[in-house]
C-alpha cells in the first residue's frame, strides 16, 4: 500500500472519536477498585477501634499522605500520556506526600513519645504492610496501565512507574484504615517501601505495555 492510499484510509476514519485518556483511566480504576476492596474486606478489614482512632491526628495524617500520593500521581500520569509532555514543572507534585510526612515526623518528635522510637518505626504490622499494599495494588495497577495504554507516553517505563504510584497510593489508603501503626515513622518506612516496590513493578510492566 502506498502512503497516499494509507492517508486516504486514515482520512476516511476521521469520524472515529476516541474517549479522553482521563475518562478511560477513571473507568479502568473504577472497574479495578472492587477487586482491591474485596482483598481488603476478605483479609484485612477496618481496625476495630476506628471510631476512637479518628480523633488521633496521626491516624488521619495517614490518609492525607496516601491520597497526596495517589491524586498527584493520577494528574502527572495523565500529563505524561501526551507524547510531547515533559516531567519538568510537574515532578514537585510527587513531593507532596514526602513534605507531609516530614511535617508529621517533625510534629511527632516534638511530642512526648508514647512509645520508643524503634517501636514506632518497626510497629506490629510491617510485614503485613509490605504484603497487603502490593497485593491490593495489583488490580488497580492493571487498571491504571490499561487506562494509560489509551494515551501515548514517550517514556513508557516512567508512565508505568506512575501507574504504580497511583495504585500504591489508593491501596495504601485502604490499608491505612486497617493498620494500627499510626506513627509517621512507620508510614515513612513501610508504606514507602511497599509503594517503591509497586512503582518498580509498574515501570517494568509499563516499558512493555505502554509502548504505542
Amino acid at each position: 500500500m502506498d502512503t497516499d492510499q494509507l492517508i486516504r484510509s486514515l482520512a476516511a476514519d476521521n469520524a472515529h472519536r476516541a474517549p479522553r485518556v482521563g475518562a478511560v483511566l477513571t473507568m479502568a480504576l473504577l472497574v479495578a477498585a472492587p477487586l482491591s476492596i474485596l482483598i481488603f474486606a476478605t483479609f484485612l478489614g477496618v481496625r476495630p477501634d476506628v471510631m476512637s482512632a479518628m480523633h488521633n491526628p496521626f491516624f488521619d495524617m495517614k490518609f492525607a499522605v496516601t491520597l497526596s500520593l495517589a491524586i498527584p500521581a493520577i494528574i502527572v500520569s495523565l500529563h505524561l500520556s501526551r507524547p510531547e509532555a515533559l516531567m519538568r514543572g510537574w515532578g514537585w507534585l510527587l513531593l507532596l506526600p514526602v513534605g507531609l510526612l516530614a511535617v508529621a515526623i517533625g510534629s511527632e518528635a516534638m511530642m512526648a513519645p508514647a512509645m520508643p522510637m524503634t517501636m514506632r518505626l518497626v510497629g506490629k504490622n510491617s510485614r503485613v504492610c509490605l504484603v497487603a499494599i502490593p497485593a491490593m495494588s495489583l488490580p488497580l495497577l492493571a487498571g491504571a496501565l490499561f487506562g494509560l495504554r489509551h494515551g501515548a507516553p514517550s517514556h513508557p517505563a516512567l508512565a508505568g512507574a506512575l501507574a504504580g504510584l497511583v495504585s500504591a497510593g489508593l491501596a495504601a489508603t485502604l490499608y491505612a484504615s486497617h493498620c494500627t501503626d499510626d506513627s509517621p515513622l512507620f508510614v515513612a518506612t513501610w508504606y514507602t517501601l511497599a509503594a517503591a516496590f509497586v512503582a518498580a513493578v509498574g515501570a517494568l510492566a509499563g516499558s512493555k505495555v505502554l509502548r504505542y
Binding site: 500500500m1 502506498d2 502512503t3 497516499d4 492510499q5 494509507l6 492517508i7 486516504r8 484510509s9 486514515l10 482520512a11 476516511a12 476514519d13 476521521n14 469520524a15 472515529h16 472519536r17 476516541a18 474517549p19 479522553r20 485518556v21 500520556s81 501526551r82 507524547p83 510531547e84 494515551g151 501515548a152 514517550s154 509502548r211 504505542y212
Partner: protein, 181 residues
C-alpha cells in the same frame, strides 16, 4: 516555518471538528517532512534510506490512532514531532541500532527538500495480508480502490456503520502488528 506550523494546527483543529478534507490535507502536508526526517535518521544509523516509507507509514498510523491525546489549544507540530521521534527511535531500535534522534531532525526540514511524492512500503502491505478478511476487504476498497464508505458498504452488503467499525479495527490491528512484529 512558523506559518507552516500554524497552518497545520488550524487544519488539525478543523479535522478534529469533523472536517475530513482538512485531515486529508494535513496528513499530505506533514508526510514530506516526516519522510525527510526518517531518511536522515536512517542515514545517521547507517541504514539504507529505502526503509523510510515504512517508518513514515507507522508514524501516520500512530498520529491517527493517538490524535485524541493532542490538546487542541496547543500547537500541533511539537505533538507530531514527539510521536514521529518516538516511532523513529522504535523503528531503528528494531533494526538493531541505537541512535540518538534529534528533535531538530523534524523541525529543520529545508524548503525544497521534498523527495518523491509517494512511495510504497513493504511492512504495511505485508501486515494487511494477515488481517481478518472483512477488515482487509474494507481497507483495500477504501485505500486502494478509493471507494467511499458508502460505496464500500454497498459492495460488500454491509451497513455503513459496520464498514466504519471494520476500517477502524483494521487500522488499529495494523498498528499493533507493526509494533509487535
Amino acid at each position: 516555518m512558523r506559518g507552516r506550523e500554524d497552518e497545520w494546527t488550524g487544519l488539525m483543529r478543523s479535522a478534529m471538528a469533523g472536517d475530513d478534507a482538512a485531515y486529508h490535507r494535513l496528513l499530505k502536508a506533514v508526510t514530506p517532512v516526516l519522510r525527510a526526517a526518517a531518511r536522515r535518521g536512517l542515514a545517521r544509523a547507517g541504514q539504507p534510506p529505502d526503509q523510510a516509507e515504512d517508518i513514515v507509514q507507522e508514524i501516520l498510523l500512530a498520529v491517527h490512532l493517538k490524535r485524541h491525546t493532542w490538546d487542541s489549544e496547543a500547537p500541533f507540530a511539537p505533538w507530531l514531532f514527539a510521536i514521529a521521534r518516538n516511532k523513529l527511535i522504535d523503528a531503528l531500535r528494531r533494526r538493531g541500532r541505537r541512535v540518538f534522534v534529534n528533535i531538530d531532525d523534524f523541525a529543520e526540514t529545508l524548503p525544497g527538500e521534498t523527495p518523491q511524492e509517494t512511495a510504497s512500503a513493504g511492512e504495511v502491505t505485508a501486515q494487511i495480508n494477515t488481517l481478518p478478511q472483512r477488515q482487509r476487504d474494507v481497507l483495500q476498497s477504501i485505500a486502494v480502490e478509493s471507494a467511499s464508505i458508502k460505496d464500500t458498504a454497498a459492495k460488500f452488503s454491509m451497513s455503513e456503520g459496520a464498514v466504519r467499525v471494520a476500517l477502524h479495527r483494521g487500522l488499529a490491528a495494523l498498528t499493533a502488528k507493526l509494533r509487535d512484529h
